[in-house]
């Protein structure tokens, strides 16, 4: 590492010759929240830069006393002349318009014309808060599903599919910590409370070398740092949950620190417990709830050193109790994530910024059953999960105005626990414990350069070396990453990218829904790492003085060694658990490797100004899988192969304090294996007459795998928000209707008998569902 730093410093010293560098942070003027993605440009030149994830910028120039323009969407730009000798300077941007000071932070968008990065969507936190949502629960991941190239799974699910990849191929990170099961309530709600977040970036392709470990997407979320100026916060009460955010300085004296706390809890269990007790004469009690909690603190040691500590903790719990004179029974069923990140930002020089992180992530799922029956005891505890501990070190180096280099290393120790089981049975004298664990190490080093080759031509060139060890298995792969952009004129740029990705850990889930029973498992000598190659090309254009942004991209992705489930196998098998497990529960025998291909075109039109704003996203795509052991080796459409996917999201500001919001989504029906025909099934047996086994029966012809389609999915959601200024803040009421035209979208199909005939029936969830919520934003 020393040599690495020395080289950087040497390069830095050489390149400073005849050039001047200014660096510092871009912050919100009131809360001093650091603003990632803000642009810093020298007036009348192509020389500029963008703040990194920590709000840090570094700009090298040769001009005498240049005039800097600092811009950030939603904030008033700063235009300021800089004396040539200035080396460090922080800029404080003021929120534009009628927002409450220090409350709303609009993270805005990157300049889509200048950056070579393509296939990236910066989701505005305001858009997450404004988008109508199921039961009024604003949801980050469901807002992402409204973007082109991102598809939802079944009705109401927060799991998502990016460019033909499965939900297991998305790297979801919160303050650099991976989150392994990002949903509550069996996938109907995501973990993340939008009120606590500062930025959400989704990358679908053209992955910078700093990201790795999953094939299909990166969702990079950063929690708010918290206001350094004064104590503030918000509270929200909805049908399903109550949530709140509190932020402010830890110590007001130096304005060099802050904290942010965010929490949410549902309360359906309060009613279900009362209901179940009343219906069972007090013998039974059942309830379900989930909660999540984000905490973050930061402290500036001095102007060159800053430390952060952040954590997430969330859990779903289902409980059931039964008690009578003979029997006392308790069942607990719970799952949850915990993450923690400790970070240290250090500025070596105006041109060299570093971040060191220690990262922890834990996910577990467990069932506990206890029964006392006539003095006999039975206890069963089953858990599974994954726990990571990792270290990450990143350097941002700005040698001159044409290069922004990032390099770093990462190491993560994965501790997989697919199965841990303990059983106690006093009547049979059983007291057994069984644990299956795997430990693996995933490492990576990377380097990338944002290179302004000319005023019009920019590139991001990167290389990542990933390495993985599990027991005696050792994999090392080089992953080239290239993104190119050519600026045809001030409003148009053409882009292309190529990236290779490897995924060393796998999610076993054959239900299609995000169930807590899904298992993360390692690559082994039998289960190889997944690999993808993606090529994308497109253009970005702004129209009407940047009031509209249009991007059109095409992509082609191939995937190797992706995971499939052998026909007839299932991971959800409680009998197996109860019976002590069996070889059928050996996950390596349940899965089978295969390949996939996906290609498509994505159009995103955003209107970012005016009373009516929002976006339209349309995707045409085709995804095909081929597994030697599935569908008799023939290619087939995976469930989420969706030819057409359309999202229209609109926000209409009726007045300063009244907003009407609507979302319309349409998607081609899910690919499914449906009963197409019935016929006699004759088994051969050489000992029987005519070689026929006499026990013939009728069998079902499903055609080829997933050769049928469910009905198309579509719905319209609307909501209306009314805000009122109060002495100490602003209160808001929001009324929403999910699925306003009461469409019975398919959740699953099943066969029933009706008048001695088979009929196909559709079960749908979430018909017209109204919601109401009240929130209060403190000043």
């Amino acid at each position: 590492m020393k040599y690495f730093l020395t080289l950087f410093c040497l390069f830095s010293a050489l390149s400073t010759f005849a050039q001047q560098t200014i660096s510092g942070y871009i912050k919100d003027s009131t809360t001093e929240e650091l603003l990632p993605g803000a642009t810093v440009f020298i007036k009348d030149s192509q020389n500029g830069t963008v703040t990194n994830k920590y709000g840090f910028y570094s700009l090298t120039f040769t001009k005498e006393n240049p005039i800097l323009i600092i811009q950030y969407i939603g904030y008033k730009p700063i235009i300021q002349e800089i004396e040539r000798k200035t080396q460090t300077k922080d800029f404080y941007l003021e929120i534009q318009g009628g927002e409450i000071e220090g409350v709303v932070i609009d993270v805005g968008k990157e300049d889509i014309i200048e950056t070579p990065q393509m296939s990236k969507i910066q989701v505005e936190i305001e858009d997450i808060k404004n988008t109508p949502a199921l039961l009024g629960e604003k949801d980050v991941l469901k807002t992402l599903q409204l973007m082109p190239g991102v598809q939802s799974g079944s009705e109401g699910q927060s799991g998502f599919y990016v460019r033909g990849g499965g939900p297991d191929q998305n790297l979801i990170i919160l303050d650099e910590a991976p989150v392994y099961n990002a949903s509550h309530l069996f996938g109907f709600f995501s973990l993340f409370n939008g009120d606590a977040l500062k930025s959400v970036d989704l990358i679908k392709g053209g992955f910078p070398a700093r990201y790795g470990g999953r094939l299909s997407s990166v969702v990079d979320m950063t929690a708010k740092d918290g206001s350094r100026d004064h104590l503030t916060g918000s509270a929200k009460v909805g049908i399903l949950s109550t949530s709140g955010v509190l932020e402010g300085p830890i110590s007001k004296k130096k304005k060099n620190n802050s904290f942010m706390l965010s929490g949410r809890r549902t309360y359906a269990d309060i009613f279900t417990r009362i209901l179940s007790k009343s219906q069972s004469d007090g013998q039974e009690s059942a309830g379900y709830y989930f909660y999540d909690f984000i905490a973050k603190g930061n402290y500036d040691i001095n102007e060159n050193n800053r430390v952060y500590l952040s954590g997430y903790f969330g859990r779903d719990n289902i409980g059931y109790k039964f008690k009578d004179n003979e029997d006392n029974e308790k069942v607990k069923f719970g799952w949850g994530n915990a993450t923690g990140t400790a970070r240290w930002n250090h500025v070596f020089s105006p041109k060299l910024f570093s971040n060191a992180s220690i990262i922890f992530s834990h996910y577990d799922f467990g069932i506990e059953f206890k029964e006392d029956y006539n003095d006999k005891k039975y206890q069963l505890k089953y858990t599974s999960g994954i726990e990571d501990i990792g270290f990450k070190y990143d350097l941002d180096f700005f040698p001159n105005s044409n290069h922004a280099v990032r390099a770093g290393l990462q190491t993560t120790r994965h501790h997989f626990k697919p199965k841990a089981r303990a059983e106690l049975d006093s009547s049979l004298g059983v007291d057994s414990k069984e644990t299956e664990t795997y430990i693996s190490l995933e490492n990576a080093v990377y380097a990338e350069d944002d290179w302004a080759i000319s005023n019009r031509f920019k590139a991001n060139l990167g290389l990542r070396l990933s390495h993985y060890i599990e027991d005696e298995v050792n994999y090392a792969r080089l992953e080239p990453r290239i993104s190119l952009a050519y600026k045809a004129n001030e409003t148009t740029s053409v882009k292309a990218s190529y990236s290779e990705m490897n995924q060393y850990i796998h999610l076993l889930s054959n239900t299609g829904a995000s169930l807590p029973t899904d298992l993360w498992v390692p690559s082994t000598d039998v289960v190889k790492p997944q690999f993808s190659r993606q090529f994308a090309a497109g253009f970005a254009k702004t129209l009407k003085d940047e009031a509209y942004q249009v991007t059109l991209e095409g992509y082609h992705k191939t995937m190797e060694n992706i995971i499939g489930y052998k026909e007839g196998s299932s991971l959800v098998n409680f009998n197996t658990i109860e019976d002590g497990g069996s070889s059928s529960n050996d996950w390596q025998k349940t899965i089978t490797p295969g390949n996939g291909t996906s290609y498509g075109a994505e159009l995103l039109i955003k209107k970012i100004e005016g009373k009516l704003h929002g976006w339209t996203g349309y995707t045409w795509s085709k995804t095909e899988h081929q597994f030697d052991e599935l569908n008799h080796g023939q290619p087939f459409s995976p469930k989420f192969d969706r030819r057409n996917d359309l999202s229209i999201v609109g926000f209409y500001d009726i007045a300063d304090n009244k907003t009407l919001m609507a979302t319309f989504v349409y998607g081609t029906g899910q690919a499914i294996s449906l009963q197409r025909a019935q016929y006699k099934k004759i088994k051969h047996n050489p000992f029987f007459k005519n070689q026929r086994d006499p026990y013939t029966s009728t069998t079902i012809d499903f055609g080829t795998k997933n050769s049928s389609r469910m009905e198309a999915y579509h719905r319209l959601d609307v909501s209306y928000r009314f805000e009122k200024e109060k002495r100490k803040g602003r209160k808001a009421w929001e009324f929403g209707v999910y699925n306003i035209y009461n469409r019975g979208n398919p959740f699953f199909y099943y066969v029933d008998e009706d008048k001695d005939k088979y009929v196909l029936k559709n079960a749908s969830l979430f018909h017209l569902l109204p919601s109401i919520s009240w929130s209060y934003q403190f000043k």
């Binding site: 109401g156 109907f188 279900t272 059942a286 059931y320 039964f322 029974e329 069942v331 069923f333 069932i367 059953f369 489930y565 026909e567 007839g568 196998s569 299932s570 098998n573 409680f574 599935l630 569908n631 008799h632 294996s673 009963q675 197409r676 025909a677 019935q678 016929y679 099934k681 004759i682 051969h684 050489p686 000992f687 005519n690 070689q691 026929r692 009728t698 069998t699 079902i700 012809d701 499903f702 055609g703 080829t704 795998k705 389609r709 009905e711 019975g744 959740f747 066969v751 008998e753 001695d756 005939k757 088979y758 009929v759 196909l760 029936k761 559709n762 079960a763 749908s764 018909h767 569902l769």
Partner: protein, 278 residues
């Protein structure tokens, strides 16, 4: 533990707003098809082909399937005769000789159906040694034994299957003798090369209901070990998998090698063994 299923059902607690309705998914190309079942072998004295038809599943009576008695069936362009039995067509081994290593083409047509075709190459005989363990007592009146199969041509990729019966002859006081046969159930019936470890595969715990009475004589075990083509293996494997299907699992896609139709046209060579039961 059943409570867990109850708790799992909380997944659908929001389903209080859900509803069900009948759906009609059009399958415009799904017309009834000819369904073929035929397993040919040099071991058999005739070729038999059973022909039935598929019927739509949705909006149909459960189990509705029909034999086809008006088909024209050819193997290597030689027509097969119609048997009296429903849907059965045959040719004697003297008319069409089935030989190991040769390929046979099946064609059939019937009014109202697309013509179908299929082919199979009869596997060459791969000598396999079969060893039987001694028969031992288990619970109740049952006994059991083991079989060990030795693949004597390990470099030749092969598919195989095993069938067996136990045969007893009962002698009545009148002097009348009546032979009864019972199927044997093996822990594994279908094999591919990967199942053989060091060219050996052990089938343990094959159950046998042995009648110890003096009234039974000439007790035997008959084993047929078949070298099959790939189609035979895949077809029966999907049947086997579908019989143990978990309701939460992906549906089993039936194997078929019949072009424009359904079912199977497969072949095998057989090795027969008989063991006396003491």
């Amino acid at each position: 533990m059943k409570r867990i299923y109850f708790l799992f059902s909380i997944l659908f607690f929001l389903a209080c707003t859900s509803c069900e309705r009948k759906v009609d998914i059009p399958f415009p190309n799904d017309k009834p098809k000819l369904v073929i079942h035929s397993f040919i072998s040099p071991d058999q004295d005739s070729i038999q082909v059973t022909i039935s038809q598929s019927n739509p599943f949705i909006n149909q009576t459960p189990g509705k399937t029909d034999y086809i008695n008006n088909a024209e069936v050819y193997i290597n362009d030689i027509p097969l005769k119609k048997a009296e039995e429903n849907g059965l067509y045959f040719a004697k081994n003297t008319d069409i000789k089935v030989q190991a290593g040769k390929t046979y083409q099946l064609k059939a047509n019937a009014d109202g159906f697309k013509s179908i075709s299929a082919s199979t190459t009869v596997p060459t005989e791969t000598p396999t040694k079969i060893e039987k363990s001694t028969i031992r007592d288990t619970t109740g009146s049952s006994k059991e034994f083991d079989l060990t199969l030795f693949d004597e041509h390990p470099n030749q990729y092969q598919y195989s299957a095993i069938y067996g019966i136990a045969e007893y002859t009962r002698v009545f006081q009148t002097g009348e003798e009546r032979t009864s046969r019972f199927s044997l159930y093996f822990p594994q019936q279908l094999f591919e090369d990967g199942n053989f470890i060091e060219n050996k595969l052990a089938l343990r715990g094959i159950r046998l209901n042995v009648y110890q009475s003096l009234l039974y004589k000439d007790k035997k075990i008959h084993i047929k070990y078949l070298n099959t083509d790939e189609g035979y293996y895949r077809y029966h494997k999907t049947i086997e998998d579908s019989e143990s299907e978990n309701p939460l699992s992906e549906p089993i896609i039936n194997y078929s090698n019949i072009e424009n139709g359904l079912g199977i046209f497969a072949s095998y060579t057989a090795l027969s063994k008989t063991f006396q039961i003491p």
